[in-house]
Subunit: 117 residues, 2 copies
């Protein structure tokens, strides 16, 4: 299970090759955590950070926050808030889509975006 830390380290070091502002210490400073902590996170010695910290990290590295949160096993709280307003409808929808192919979801998104309701 690749994991959050490995992915972050891979992305960060790739950026660091071209730009020294992506050293562990400088990233840690920008996202406001201790370097030692980010080091442990990247090596998987501690669990992934909080949602807020992951979002800052995603912003700094130019990564998709939802994807990075997912690698950490978290669903972003704004999505949760949307679901919580209509729990039964969303529960049914999501369970319905559990085994649907990716294409089906994309299609549904498009239909909803085009506002045919």
């Amino acid at each position: 299970m690749a994991g959050f830390g490995d992915y972050v380290r891979t992305v960060r070091t790739a950026l660091a090759e071209k730009d020294m502002r992506y050293s562990l210490r400088q990233v840690a400073q920008r996202i406001d955590v201790e370097p030692a902590y980010l080091s442990k996170v990247e090596r998987g010695l501690v669990p992934p950070p909080s949602e807020a910290t992951i979002v800052r990290l995603a912003g700094d590295l130019g990564e998709d926050p939802d994807m990075l949160l997912a690698l950490a096993g978290k669903v972003s709280s704004d999505l949760q808030a949307i679901i919580l307003r209509r729990p039964k409808q969303f529960a049914e929808l999501i369970r319905q889509l559990r085994d649907a192919p990716d294409q089906a979801i994309v299609k549904v998104v498009r239909e909803v975006r085009d506002g045919n309701w």
Copy 2:
């Protein structure tokens, strides 16, 4: 904001009027928590229980688990697991449906159920 505890107490006492097996103590025993704890939960003196305990409580009271979890501010972990498999697609879908009318969601559920892909 009405809240989890109030709702549980209302439902439970309604059941208890007709059937003494829905006393606080007997419910607590069936769902395997201390009576004092359930008492505090119902009065909002402590935060809502864990997901597992809420699910047992919903089962005992004949309530919808997703709804009771929502009152507790939680999204059930099986839904989260589904979302985490395809975070970007589901994130887009859910945000797209944030302001959609209930009917739109129901319609989408029906379309997906009818295997529209």
